[in-house]
Symmetry: C2
Subunit: 129 residues, 2 copies
DNA sequence: TATGTAACGAACTTATTTGTTCGTAGATTT
DNA sequence: AAATCTACGAACAAATAAGTTCGTTACATA
């Protein structure tokens, strides 16, 4: 495996290349939400737990620069922006799903029932409102 | 998506879980080499460009702790150890291959012919010997 | 006797990623 | 007139990941 250098970034192998593009803590949560519908900035922020404004902005900028998402700006006040998956982004969703399913298996091996945890969380949220 | 905490580690989603297990710079290169044959410590070190002793050891320890690889020690001097994929590790190879193939596509989109780069590197090595 | 060997551990430094805090525009609502 | 709203930029701090250097075991060979 050679070192591949593109735009000042070095990749050791094809998997590394993918992870530099859609890896990190926040890219997947963003892409995953956009798979079904268009989101506004604030919607993403509200929907993704723990994400900071800086990381959301940074993540969106990088995904846009790499062609996974598109941005539509409405020049009104207060501002309005919409983020959507591109075709390239849609392709990414397919392998994200594969990795996700594998993750669910791995968690099961470790005795974690993820679906159950999600259900519990939904219940907890309902109670608190 | 809830926060899942296992052994003091927090995961935001199933993909995150996978990446904490087999992500990072060096786990994939190690697993990838073990897919076909057993390797000794020094063999891995020689075969994986740029890896430091510390990162190799750390990577092997973590992969072993998570059940992806097994370690066989021969109590002789100088020491002899062999690392091999477990069944769990073999399963991991399958999705690594999927990600890898996607990576090759992505690189092509960016005008990078990875296979060609590998061929060039092999040639360069032959020349230098 | 000095040197080499395989597989590391431990301490420390550097680099990369993530997170926190503060500030801005300009129309709209109180 | 002051506060609110949305979508950020910028400076700085903290946390995590990766890399560097030095030391160790205990036998075999030059």
């Amino acid at each position: 495996m050679p070192d591949v250098i593109v735009n000042n970034e070095t990749f050791y192998n094809p998997v590394d290349f993918v992870l530099k593009k859609i890896g990190g803590t926040w890219k997947i949560p963003v892409l995953w939400r956009l798979r079904k519908k268009v989101f506004r900035y604030t919607e993403l922020q509200k929907d993704i737990p723990h994400i900071s404004q800086k990381m959301l902005t940074q993540t969106l900028r990088e995904l846009e620069a790499d062609g996974f998402i598109s941005k539509k700006t409405f020049a009104i006040v207060p501002p309005h922006t919409e983020y959507a998956l591109t075709e390239k982004g849609t392709k990414a969703i397919i392998i994200i799903e594969t990795i996700r399913n594998y993750g669910l298996e791995l968690m099961k091996d470790d005795g974690i029932d993820y679906e159950e945890l999600v259900r519990e969380e939904v219940k907890a949220k309902k109670k608190s409102t």
